[in-house]
Amino acid sequence: MSTAATQANPSQTPVFPSFAEVYQGLAGQIGMLREMAPAPTKSDEQRLKGAVDTLIEETNADEAVWLESCIHCGQCTNACHYFQATGEAKYAPMRKMDLYRRVYQREISPMRWWHRLVSKPVKLSDFEEASELIYDSCSECGRCTMVCPMGIDTASLVHHMRSAMVAAELVPPELAALRMEQKNMGTVFGSSPDALKKMVDTIREQAGVEIPLDKDKADVMVLSSAVDLVANGNGLLATAKIMNHLGVDWTIRSDGFESANFGLLSGDMSLWKHQVDPIIEAAQKVGAKTLVIAECGHAYPALRWNPMLSSGELPFEMMYMSEFLGKQAKAGKLRLTPFDGKVTFHDPCKTGRRGGAFDEPRAVLAAMDADLVEMPANKEYNWCCGGGAGIFLLEDATRLRDESFKIKIREVNDTGAESVVVSCASCRLNFESGRQKNNWDKQVHSLVELVADHLIDDETATKGQARGAAA
């Protein structure tokens, strides 16, 4: 991928494999996850009780109102890519909260005495059956909320169900394996601090780009992600090029660099928090004013919109890579060579509809004079690519993912653009998968890599110390 990008900078031979190769390599790794999945450790009764208790604990008035509000009007089916792709009743978004509602009705609702009389007790097998609805067929993209006349936030309800699934030890094997890896070893796909150091060294040695690792003080602390560290070195390389180009005082910290959060994806709230804490600590330690989250969609809600984190009280701002780039572009600090040809932008669910970073990535594209053609459904109404919220990793979700991606293909084709820009590793992997499986003739760019390839070189010479350090 991004062959145009490598050609734009002919002085360098590609250091890292193309994204097509990255995808294939990663797919092989994902295939092995299933065997690494932990077996349940608790008795069935404990698992069921844990699931039910988790839902009770996580249910506030908001969730209760949403569970009470559904009138089965069927509108949400219009919005869900998994339903639209398959037409199967069970994938209707409203169905994804049925089990949650049953637990709510029997345990919390003011009518619980009645529901206990008339509804069947919840069994562990109910949660087992719900797994497909909770993980495989819901990327928590929130598009159904956009059409729901009641405005029910189904995605957040599904997320609570994922928490219950963690307690029930029913997390799909791929996510369970990564969750356990992150929980026990602090790594994802082996992306340890050592791996980070190795990648930093590789980039310095082979691409000649300096990455200020583990600086004591820095204005900008940048996160990386497992995908970049174990497969797609280009991601980190591009980030470094841009930071150095901008001349900001930046660092990556080996005590807090991982954007990916399998606590959030699996539904494990304590792991979510456990994974976030060291990052926040590190950012405070270096005195960062800005924390830049790598292009890893779910990391944005994991950090920026982490409801457990009083981010208003933190001395630094958290922003997604696309937001950071967009702000720089808007401020005129990011000057880019023009991008030829029509392009469209895919808003990742987690940073778009469920994150609010719409303008910034578009500002970046505007900075390279790109001929941006919006998809028929864009921004808040953007169709999910089908791979978000960990679904890209799930083997069982392959059919759902592939079928729903056809909607995305249609949307992109409608624009007449030759390439599509994404700003999320999950989306990008899923696009790559869909591109290869469907022999799709579109190019898929990562925003950060695209920017790195379009930096105006002669200006960089006059910029600050970081660039100098790199040289």
Binding site: H72, C73, Q75, S311
Partner: protein, 216 residues
């Protein structure tokens, strides 16, 4: 005690008591639950407040969904408006409300009441036909059908009573009042509570999304 006396007296009285108590029970039973807090910093300081717009803006589907939701939305609107006008617009209903609350207002001509009642019933049929025709989309439960019947009965019996069709007037009137009593008593314990929930549900989502700077 005749059926009408039973309907006008104990039945409707009990139903109203159940309805009022049920509304209070279910509303407070939910709204008094713990409040979750999103502690993250809002995108802009006063942005959250904009979330309340969703309560109103969600009254009509976004342009993105116009085609796919047109039938359901239009028919549902026709139904709700016609039903509401019939409920508050015709003389017998105003008389009933006045006996309960002391409030009164000018009524619409009866022919209009009949027309609106017929429209409401017809739209209700239009909705159930679609529900039956597209099972995958609606995922109907028993509750959906029960609610439909419970809503349709007062309309049907009301129209029949008004037109003096079917059984004797006082019997039709009694059936109308009894079916309304059933509706009143059933409302708080069914999906018909959406008459209240929609405000809270929309506002919550509106706030949650506005917090992130997204307008839904």
């Amino acid at each position: 005690m005749s059926l009408l006396e039973f309907a006008r007296g104990p039945a409707i009285h009990a139903a109203l008591i159940i309805m009022v108590a049920g509304f209070a029970l279910r509303l407070l039973g939910v709204l008094v639950l713990t409040r979750g807090a999103d502690m993250s910093r809002p995108r802009d300081a006063f942005g959250n407040f904009k979330g309340y717009r969703t309560v109103f803006s969600r009254a009509w589907p976004a342009g993105e969904f116009t085609t796919t939701t047109r039938y359901q939305t239009v028919v549902a609107y026709v139904f709700h408006i016609a039903l509401l006008l019939v409920i508050v617009g015709i003389v017998p209903h105003i008389e009933f409300i006045q006996s309960l609350t002391g409030l009164s207002w000018p009524a619409m001509p009866n022919f209009l009441g009949v027309a609106l009642g017929t429209i409401a019933l017809a739209s209700l049929f239009a909705l159930i036909f679609r529900r039956l025709a597209k099972p995958a989309i609606y995922n109907s439960t028993v509750g959906d059908y029960v609610a439909w019947v419970v809503v349709a009965l007062p309309l049907l019996t009301g129209l029949m009573a008004f037109a003096h069709v079917g059984l004797r007037y006082e019997t039709m009137l009694a059936l109308h009042i009894l079916s309304s009593a059933l509706l009143f008593a059933y409302m708080p314990f069914s999906k018909l509570m959406h008459a209240f929930w929609f405000i809270f549900s929309r506002a919550q989502s509106g706030l949650a999304y506005a917090h992130k700077g997204v307008r839904i």
